[in-house]
């Protein structure tokens, strides 16, 4: 059996804006395996969310356009599916949790109404059965008094509760893949830990694959099996989580890890990578990281680096790796 549940091949996404064409994703290759939690890390604006939304074809068109590549889900190219088929996959085979729990539920419908709507859409069950499924799901995300929560409106719940509702909602149809786009960024740290536990417990138990998008390396180390590092619309390194933290090979990854402050050190200033993230309207040629890279040489300016396997399952896209 194919171990890859989702395989993204050479994906490019552009946004046509008044300022020019934004090359948000350029030739992205990435796969998510069955049952794994894959972390996707990168700075704000590097294209993580665009990648996530592309998988479900949620890029608003206009201004966005998926301009090339394939997204194979269980061998089928999602980009070639008719919209009707795509809708059958959304929320059912692949579902998605967003960053903002405060705004990702509709304020004018009850939690129950919104959950049951999705359950009934995909599972073709009676209202009563749908209600039962919802109560069951809410209990699984450790929501006390699930029945009462179903009757509540989103504004009557806290941020952490709403995000748990979202998890319950998005897992209610037993998807094969859950895309979590910074699901805990907007939450308090304590609530964050709780939500992460629930998320990982549930998906591990159900063997749901997760594409976990974050810029928090601590969360990645704690939660993920594998990590993909993204920079300016490209994947620069993928590795099993231990390998990435122990022997990062791409200069950008090393910079990121060096920038994580630790409690044992006594630093006056926080470490950072010199330079700024390039604009994606006219990104640097060759390797997109070369203007900020200490080891950049002639080929880095001219050619895009190809992937090199430097360890088991550890790929780096850098000319400096031989």
């Amino acid at each position: 059996m194919d171990t890859d549940l989702l395989r993204i091949q050479d994906l490019s996404v552009r946004f046509f804006t008044y300022q020019g064409v934004v090359r948000a994703l350029e030739g992205v290759w990435l796969s998510v395996r069955r049952g794994e939690i894959l972390g996707l890390v990168g700075e704000t604006g590097c294209g993580k969310s665009v990648l996530a939304r592309s998988i479900l074809r949620l890029i608003a068109d206009p201004p966005g356009k998926i301009s090339g590549g394939r997204i194979l889900f269980k061998g089928r190219d999602l980009l070639a599916l008719p919209m009707k088929e795509m809708r059958r996959i959304r929320g059912n085979d692949i579902s998605m949790i967003f960053q903002e729990p405060m705004t990702s539920l509709n304020p004018v419908f009850t939690v129950g109404n919104q959950m049951e709507e999705v359950v009934r859409l995909h599972q073709k069950v009676s209202r009563k059965a749908a209600r039962r499924i919802c109560v069951e799901m809410l209990t699984q995300v450790r929501m006390p008094d699930a029945e009462a929560v179903l009757r509540k409106y989103p504004h009557e719940l806290s941020g952490g509760m709403r995000q748990r509702v979202m998890i319950a909602l998005e897992l209610s149809c037993r998807p094969d893949l859950l895309i979590a786009d910074e699901p805990t960024t907007a939450l308090d740290v304590t609530v964050q830990a709780q939500v992460l536990h629930i998320l990982s417990d549930l998906t591990r138990a159900r063997e749901t694959s997760v594409l976990f998008i974050t810029h928090d390396l601590g969360v990645v180390a704690h939660l993920c099996d594998r990590v993909a590092v993204m920079y300016a619309g490209k994947i620069v390194e993928t590795a099993p989580v231990e390998a990435l933290f122990q022997s990062p090979r791409h200069p950008y990854t090393r910079g990121l890890l060096a920038a994580v402050p630790s409690l044992d050190e006594d630093r006056e200033f926080l470490a950072s990578i010199p330079g700024v993230v390039p604009g994606l309207i006219d990104p640097p040629g060759g390797c997109r990281f070369h203007p900020r890279c200490d080891g950049a040489g002639e080929p880095c300016r001219r050619m895009e680096p190809a992937g090199v396997e430097v360890g088991e399952d550890h790929w780096v896209f850098c000319h400096g790796i031989r």
């Binding site: 809708r87 579902s95 539920l105 304020p107 004018v108």
Partner: protein, 336 residues
């Protein structure tokens, strides 16, 4: 239960509102130059006759005393007697109000039946031909003066094409349906009287469109812009990401949210339609309150003017109350 208490509280607000409105209108209408007693007695009447009339109408009293006397009558349900028609004002209003109400309701229905779908369509097909067409339609609506639009409608549909009648509520010779609500369309339906219904319908189309066009344009634009704002919300993406069909996303998840600003505008419009049908009623010879009050002002018919004002301001208060109650149904964050 709390909603009922809220409604009761709002109805109590009526008292100061009505006091204020009556006082203002009373003072303003009495400040109009002219002499109602002279108007009534006629140009050739002797000075003595006019004075007698003035005394019998109570117009020789100081203004505050006249006001108190009027308010006392009002408390007993007496709106006074019209100088012009010599009938109780309440009777007059009972005759004229339904015509205006019918015109208002027809106009509002037109606003909603055309404005809502058009606004939604423009939002969904933003910056495409449909949207541009609806924008042109709306700009025409807000920039065309009612009196000009009315005349053009008459010229085209009544005189040239002869598709629709140009005045009144029914053809001469047709008997109005038995009055239950006073609205011909409703009464004809209740009576099962097809010919009268369709005749009344053909009469109301032109004035209703003429009256509603401005509000129709505004509502279309409001629906469009609030739909666009809502369509960018995260929960709409959530709905799509969960596989809901586009029609459900738009008509359920977006529409209910975008109705909140729309209801505000629609409510205000109903109030304005009720009180503002004067030009339209004059052009289409529609026997409603607008025409009634213009004639009354020309005749310095104070009780009639007061009666009209009271009806309009009462309507405003009730419409606003209705709007507030609708809010509570649309937005669960609003609780009274």
């Amino acid at each position: 239960m709390r909603l009922l208490r809220y409604i009761a509280k709002r109805l109590l607000h009526l008292i100061p509102v009505l006091l204020g409105v009556t006082a203002l209108v009373f003072v303003i209408s009495h400040a109009i130059p002219g002499d109602p007693a002279r108007m009534m007695a006629g140009q050739k009447a002797s000075r003595e006759a006019v004075e007698n009339l003035r005394r019998s109408m109570g117009l020789d009293r100081p203004l505050h005393e006249q006001y108190l006397r009027y308010m006392w009558g009002l408390l007993h349900g007496d709106l006074g007697r019209s100088v012009r028609s010599q009938r109780p004002v309440a009777e007059d209003l009972k005759d004229f109000f339904p015509a205006t109400l019918e015109l208002t309701l027809a106009s509002m229905s037109l606003c909603l039946v055309v404005g809502l779908p058009l606004g939604i369509l423009s939002a969904v097909r933003r910056n495409r031909p449909v949207d541009h067409a609806s924008r042109v339609f709306s700009v025409c609506g807000v920039s065309m003066p009612v009196f000009w639009l009315g005349l053009m409608l008459l010229l085209l549909f009544y005189r040239n094409l002869q598709w629709l009648p140009g005045s009144g509520r029914l053809d001469v010779g047709l008997d109005p349906p038995a009055s239950v609500t006073g609205l011909y369309l409703v009464d004809a339906l209740l009576e099962g009287n097809g010919p009268v219904f369709f005749n009344a319908l053909s009469h109301i189309i032109l004035p209703a469109f003429c009256l509603s066009y401005v509000y129709l344009a505004v509502i279309t634009r409001i629906v469009r812009s609030s739909m666009i704002a809502v369509m960018e919300q995260d929960y709409v993406t959530t709905a799509r990401a969960n596989g809901l069909a586009e029609a459900v996303v738009i008509l359920k998840h977006c529409l209910k949210n975008s109705l909140i600003p729309t209801v505000t505008i629609a409510g205000l419009s109903v109030g304005e339609l009720l009180g503002g049908a004067i030009l339209t009623e004059t052009i289409f010879d529609w026997p409603g309150m607008g025409k009634y009050v213009v004639d009354s002002v020309n005749f310095l018919d104070f009780p009639a003017i007061m009666g009209f004002t009271l009806v309009v301001s009462l309507s405003y208060v009730f419409i606003n109350l209705t709007v507030d109650v609708i809010y509570a149904f649309l937005n669960p964050q609003i609780r009274y």
